[in-house]
């Protein structure tokens, strides 16, 4: 079966981003971008399923500006077979939102007929945690979110999910949508020879309109602000002072 893996280009997780002074958004000029960490886990899982002989082909897809090609090349270097870029305007005012991405992915699912779609559980920029679930709804597929273990056999996937309070295991009929949690796997490092090989792998570029998808945003960002600052704290010299402060100053114990 084919596996479709959507990947997102986001600000690198090590970068401390700042809010623009005019409150219109985040200051991303010249900031290092990388593949969303949860998506790396998704690509890794797909590659492992191929190595086990479960999957035959892995298609990486990214939606966004031309530079998303770099993110797709990373996915190809990890082990994806080919890539699709669904290119949208680089206009700073344009925002591609989860519902629009889910509609694009639904169109690609119809076209490519994958047995499994593996996405990250959330992107570390908008922190939405929506796209996988929305795709599953639009394509009328079962979903297994926040996966920490995936086993595929006999037309079904058995997925262990991280839920509040512990773990839960569900079985979904294929095709299905799975979203990855952190503990699913440890993504491999990309080696130089694989980066070189990735340059030769096929990458197709299409537009949302080619898929008949309207990507107009439904939610307007009115403003973006810094979170309220905490007051400066104090360092205490010893445990006795700490206990005294907690009892008599903060009055929390």
């Amino acid at each position: 079966m084919k596996i479709l893996v959507p990947v997102k280009r986001v600000v690198d997780y090590n970068v401390k981003v700042r809010v623009k002074s005019d409150g219109s958004g985040m200051d991303l000029a010249g900031v290092k971008m990388s593949m969303n960490p949860f998506d790396e886990i998704a690509v890794e899982e797909a590659v492992r399923l191929k190595e086990k002989g479960v999957a035959t082909e892995i298609i990486a897809v990214s939606c966004g500006v031309t530079q998303c090609q770099e993110t797709l090349r990373t996915a190809l270097a990890i082990g994806a077979d080919r890539a699709i870029l669904v290119e949208t305007p680089s206009d700073a005012a344009f925002e591609l939102q989860p519902l629009a991405v889910a509609k694009i992915l639904k169109a690609l699912v119809d076209k490519e007929q994958p047995g499994l779609v593996i996405l990250g559980k959330q992107a570390i920029d908008d922190d939405n945690n929506q796209t996988g679930q929305m795709l599953a709804a639009l394509a009328d597929l079962p979903q297994a979110t926040f996966a920490s273990k995936v086993e595929v056999a006999e037309g079904k996937a058995r997925v262990t999910r991280e839920v509040d309070g512990g773990l839960e295991t569900v079985e979904v009929t294929l095709p299905a949508v799975v979203t990855t949690d952190l503990r699913l796997n440890e993504p491999r490092y990309v080696t130089l020879p694989n980066i070189m090989k990735a340059k030769k792998k096929p990458m197709e570029t299409i537009k949302p309109a080619d898929l008949g998808v309207d990507v107009a945003p439904r939610i307007k960002t009115v403003k973006v602000e810094e979170p309220p600052k905490r007051g400066a704290g104090v360092k205490v010299p010893d445990v006795a002072t700490l206990v005294d402060k907690l009892k008599n100053e903060a009055k929390v114990i």
Partner: protein
């Protein structure tokens, strides 16, 4: 104008996160209903009728809803959704699983982790691991929202007397089935609703030492235990103890961070705590920049001393 809260429950009782979502719902619309979708969930429905401010409880009861599978619960919500302007879910693992599925079925956007209701169509939510707060406005006819529970006070669990209206349960989708669960047994307060949290990081060194050092302190304070992602990844603590962007978001009265450096991903999960205490031997640890009280000391001597002096 009515809003619907999709309750989180274990069929017999309501989960506290539901009460925070009711408060958010009351800020969206004057009339608030609660949906109990479950199997033999009369106990949870009964509890929902008593929530202060709730006007009606919809109770859908059937075997398809026994395991709270996203496919069936989402279909159940969509079956009643058209009567409402707002659908609100607590932003728990369950709410996050179902809410986007509902939104897509209704062809509307979803707003995740709302921390404030500015007006009926405008909400605040944190982005970039809590490093920024976005104010967003939805133009959709039905607003589907997940509510960050620490952003809203809980509605009163008593005092209400709403009627129950039975709703037909949806048929099973047949797309998924429940296999089993491993729920960690808790004999202390639940992390997201605890008044005090004692949290350990990688510096704890091992699972044994994590328990040896932190359990007496948590017992003394009646606190819940938490952990940083590093401690969880190292196997010192179970993963549902993880506080952070990718774990649980908490806002207790007192948060004691022991041997936690304070990575952005951790801070996103606890920086709204009322009082933060950091115990760390590294004077440069970022956790000190947000701690109200910082103690620069070796945790293996400081924590036992703290236990003795309480």
């Amino acid at each position: 104008m009515a809003s619907l809260v999709i309750a989180e429950h274990d069929h017999g009782t309501l989960k506290p996160a539901t009460l925070n979502a009711v408060t958010a719902a009351l800020a969206c619309a004057s009339e608030v209903h609660v949906l109990i979708a479950g199997a033999n969930a009369g106990g949870a429905a009964e509890a929902a009728t008593r929530i202060s401010g709730v006007a009606k409880v919809l109770h859908a009861d059937g075997p398809s809803l026994a395991e709270q599978l996203a496919e069936n619960v989402a279909a159940q919500v969509v079956a009643v959704a058209r009567n409402y302007t707002h659908l609100l879910f607590p932003a728990t693992a369950h709410g996050k699983n179902v809410a986007p599925r509902v939104a897509a079925l209704l062809d509307v956007a979803q707003i995740s982790d709302a921390t404030r209701v500015v007006s009926a169509d405008t909400f605040e939510r944190p982005i970039y691991a809590g490093n920024a707060i976005a104010t967003v406005q939805s133009s959709d006819p039905i607003k589907v929202i997940s509510v960050r529970t620490t952003g809203f006070d809980p509605a009163g669990a008593a005092g209400g007397s709403a009627p129950i209206e039975a709703v037909a349960a949806v048929a099973d989708s047949g797309l998924s089935s429940f296999v089993g669960a491993e729920i960690v047994k808790l004999d202390r307060p639940e992390l997201t609703s605890a008044r005090i949290i004692v949290s350990g990081g990688r510096a704890m060194g091992s699972s044994d030492r994590f328990n040896e050092v932190l359990v007496p302190l948590a017992d003394k304070l009646g606190a819940a235990l938490g952990a940083s992602r590093a401690a969880v990844d190292a196997g010192y603590a179970p993963n549902d103890w993880q506080v952070g962007q990718t774990g649980k978001v908490v806002a207790p009265q007192l948060y004691i961070a022991v041997g936690i450096s304070g990575a952005i991903q951790h801070l996103a999960g606890m920086k709204d705590s009322k009082v933060i205490v950091a115990i760390n031997k590294d004077p440069e640890a970022p956790i000190f920049s947000i701690a109200d009280y910082g103690l620069e000391a070796d945790l293996f001597s400081a924590v036992p001393e703290l236990v003795r002096s309480l």
